[in-house]
């Protein structure tokens, strides 16, 4: 920001660069030409928020509107928060340093459930009442979007309107409607009704009434008169033609993904049954290599970054990958830009491709078999065999690599102890694979990282329960006891954290009071080890009379009304039920390119997709 109004804070915090803004490429506008001010809030630290591609896209898309200025704010780290509370400083934007209450619209992106407490805390720091019903015309409109809005219910009481689905066309539409209503002198309530009834993809929670059964399940979910019963998510039909931020801000302090990020497609053809992203981002849609390459070059020219990564759910599924890589390599080598390809599936041409790409820098290699036995991999529809895993590892070892990282999950539906031991066995086979050939002077290291299964909305496993923490911990120890060599490095996720994630992932509107109580008790940054406090959370749930196991550890039936049933993400409930039944039958479903499984997402349209 241009002013020095917070110097009394900045000289006393650990990383002042988180709060000064003024990055190269930051959007500045003359306030006298601006009639609508928006503040985009990322409810985590600056380093995490500034790495988020969605934030760059949405801020850019809104800032292209004349007369509208979208600024940004992040959750202040605990040292800054303490100082702000001590000095009575309200949460401010980084561009002007103005308090959030000066804005017309405050937008939150909800990337993961564990950031809910940060969102509530940011409202608290801004002096904005939590509940939408308590906010009069004098307060900003509070909007939200992001992956968590596929089950918006735990935070529905706080938010005036959710954007469901891809937002770069929808959010500018909402902003324009807001300006029009403001000009006409309409009230917030009137604007919200218009948003819900005249625009597509917007969910206004206050226009729906929820009633509960005595057992706590949902009895009915009723829209007000004239309001759509289902909110269909928005998608971008043609990724080649949509706005892409090529002049995004270049932060000073190092962020988590401090590089050019090039999106190459949206959606996923795979259909792993635990994966929310794989379902809610359907249909699969590609960008063409020429468009990506031109865009990448522009990003480089405007930012000066020396690293670039391709972004998508599974890079090797991109139909034109070799062509794209060749195009990029025509200039990236010369410009000393290193390319990285994240999220790889295990397949044949992986290593050759990596060799080509890694001509500048060599990074680690990770695979995600997710489950230790073929039976369980079939249950989750991972569609990969042990032989394929081993042959990919062999290629990696032959290519000179000595270390690999593997991701697994425990607590998956139908999992038995045999599947857990299977993780140890598979890892051992990989170690054995390394030593099956003489590799003089080389030692192998196989890292295995095991997370806990969290059932998520709009997956075939959305009805499933999570294992209890005791069970998850027992399985973690069982696996530890079955690893016989130090060549395997084993790490696992804290079950308590995954438990809280499951509560909010499957939660309903009653959870809002738990979030308010959590804020009262000073709980935030649940995604951070140093701040997560399980004992405190137990007390929070007890104080508000909520049994977290009702959400996390209870299997729902197919006919129960789900908290998120009013959202339409494209894939149908019939498809999800079909997939869930196939999972229990240990039967796999082919990827979308091999055969269409009629998930329903193709009704949304889209160019260069794989379904018809």
């Amino acid at each position: 920001m241009k002013t020095d109004r917070y110097s009394y804070l900045l000289s006393r915090v650990e990383k002042p660069g988180r709060y000064t803004g003024n990055e190269y490429g930051e959007t500045q506008k003359d306030l006298s030409t601006v009639d609508t001010r928006m503040c985009f809030c990322f409810p985590d630290t600056y380093e995490i928020g500034m790495s988020n591609l969605g934030m760059k896209i949405l801020m850019g898309a809104v800032n292209r509107l004349e007369g509208v200025w979208c600024e940004k704010a992040f959750a202040p780290w605990v040292d800054m928060e303490a100082l702000m509370r001590e000095t009575g400083t309200k949460l401010f934007s980084l561009e002007t340093g103005d308090p959030l209450t000066d804005f017309d619209i405050v937008a939150f992106t909800l990337q993961y459930e564990l950031c809910y407490t940060n969102m509530v805390n940011m409202l608290s720091l801004a002096g904005i009442p939590f509940y939408a019903k308590d906010r009069g015309e004098e307060y900003p409109l509070i909007i939200a979007g992001g992956p968590c809005s596929y089950n918006p219910e735990p935070v529905a009481d706080f938010i005036d309107v959710f954007s469901i689905g891809e937002g770069e066309e929808a959010i500018p539409e909402l902003v324009e409607l807001y300006r029009k209503c403001k000009k006409e002198g309409l009230s917030k309530k009137e604007f919200l009704f218009k948003a819900a009834t005249t625009l597509e993809g917007f969910y206004v929670p206050s226009l729906y009434t929820v009633e509960y059964n005595p057992d706590g399940t949902i009895a009915s979910f009723t829209p007000d008169e004239g309001v759509p019963a289902k909110i269909q998510k928005r998608i971008i039909k043609d990724l080649d033609k949509v706005y892409y931020p090529t002049d995004a801000e270049v932060p000073y302090i190092e962020t988590v993904h401090d590089r050019i990020v090039m999106e190459i497609f949206r959606g996923c053809i795979r259909g792993c049954r635990f994966c929310q992203a794989g379902m809610v981002y359907r249909p699969y849609r590609e960008k063409t290599p020429d468009v990506i390459n031109a865009c990448a070059r522009e990003c480089f020219d405007k930012t000066g970054y020396s690293e670039m990564s391709l972004s998508c759910l599974s890079v090797s599924d991109y139909t034109h990958l070799p062509e794209l890589i060749d195009k990029l390599l025509t200039w990236t080598d010369e410009k000393k830009v290193s390319l990285s390809l994240p999220s790889q599936r295990i397949d044949a041409f992986y290593e050759e491709l990596m060799e080509k790409v890694m001509s500048v820098r060599k990074s680690g290699m990770t695979f995600a078999p997710e489950a230790g036995t073929q039976r369980l991999r079939d249950v989750i529809n991972k569609n990969i065999t042990e032989e394929e895993i081993l042959s990919a590892c062999r290629k990696a070892f032959d290519g000179g690599r000595n270390s690999l990282k593997l991701y697994f999950m425990n607590g998956l539906p139908t999992e038995t102890d045999e599947d857990i031991v299977g993780i140890a066995n598979l890892s051992q086979s990989i170690v054995d694979e390394f030593y099956s050939v003489k590799r003089p002077g080389r030692k192998v290291e196989v890292g295995i990282s095991v997370s806990c299964f969290v059932p998520k909305a709009f997956t075939p496993f959305q009805w499933e329960k999570q294992d209890t923490m005791e069970e998850l911990r027992r399985k973690q120890m069982l696996l530890r006891d079955n690893i016989k060599t130090r060549k395997i490095r084993y790490s696992w996720h804290e079950a308590k954290v995954s438990h809280l994630e499951a509560v909010f992932a499957k939660g309903n509107r009653t959870l809002s009071k738990a979030l308010v109580e959590a804020n009262r008790q000073g709980q935030r940054f649940d995604g951070w080890d140093e701040c997560f406090d399980y004992e405190k959370w137990c007390g929070i749930f007890e104080a508000v009379g909520i049994d977290p196991a009702f959400f996390a550890n209870r299997k729902m039936s197919f006919d129960e009304i789900l908290p998120w049933d009013h959202i339409d993400c494209g894939v149908t409930k019939e498809f999800l039920i079909r997939e869930c039944k196939k999972a229990y039958a240990e039967s796999t479903t082919p990827d979308c390119r091999t055969q269409c499984s009629a998930c329903g997402a193709n009704k949304l349209g889209g160019e260069r997709k794989c379904c018809r």
Binding site: Y8, G17, N22, Y252, E254, G304, R361
Partner: protein
């Protein structure tokens, strides 16, 4: 290859950005400038950029110097200056570029202007900063009492603004923030600005 010395200022809220981050910001600006910047050799090539004397976080400067190279034998330095200024973040500004005259190791002293928010009088400030100044300083082997006065060449005070000349060689260097630290709680806040770099003979570093 053409060695270039770039002289620049750092003012405003960018003083909250550390030296390492500034170094990265300038490297990226050099890339954006489209100039034929020389990279380091090796597996992990990066812009070859060397700072004459790093500036501490929270400090401003009107005279910083850093060296880089271009893949050519001669250049219009005004053109080079313009090209970089066009792509620098706000708060950084190239004053001029030129062929290096002195060796980096010739840099020996830096001058600072330190404005203090304090109730102390100019005389009190001068007295405190003129004698022995023992502070508890963090070193590689824990905290140690050090007398920093041996690194101070001269001090003058007027209207609560301290003008100081201190050592600024690579092996013998004083961060003037330590002098402010020595004054203790009597100083509510301070703004330190580096005003120049000099060689052993107190000739401007060029």
């Amino acid at each position: 290859m053409l060695p270039v010395r770039m002289f620049f200022s750092k003012k405003g809220s960018i003083r909250y950005i550390s030296h390492l981050d500034i170094s990265r910001a300038i490297s990226r600006a050099l890339v954006r400038s489209g100039l034929d910047i020389v990279y380091t050799e090796g597996y992990n090539p990066h812009v070859r950029l060397v700072f004459v004397q790093p500036l501490s976080i929270f400090q401003e400067s009107v005279y910083e110097a850093a060296d880089f190279r271009l893949y050519r034998d001669e250049a219009d330095f005004d053109e080079v200056t313009r090209a970089i200024n066009a792509v620098l973040p706000e708060g950084l500004e190239v004053l001029f570029t030129a062929s290096p005259v002195m060796d980096i190791s010739d840099c020996a002293y830096a001058t600072y202007s330190i404005s203090l928010d304090t109730d102390m009088s100019d005389d009190e400030i001068r007295d405190e900063l003129s004698g022995e100044m023992v502070i508890n300083k963090k070193t590689k082997s824990g905290y140690k009492d050090v007398d920093i006065s041996e690194f101070v060449k001269s001090v003058s005070v007027k209207d609560k603004v301290v003008e100081m000349t201190v050592c600024a060689a690579s092996n013998r260097c004083l961060n003037p923030a330590l002098a402010v630290q020595y004054l203790g709680d009597r100083v509510r806040s301070s703004l330190i600005t580096r005003t120049g770099l000099y060689n052993e003979k107190m000739e401007k570093f060029v």
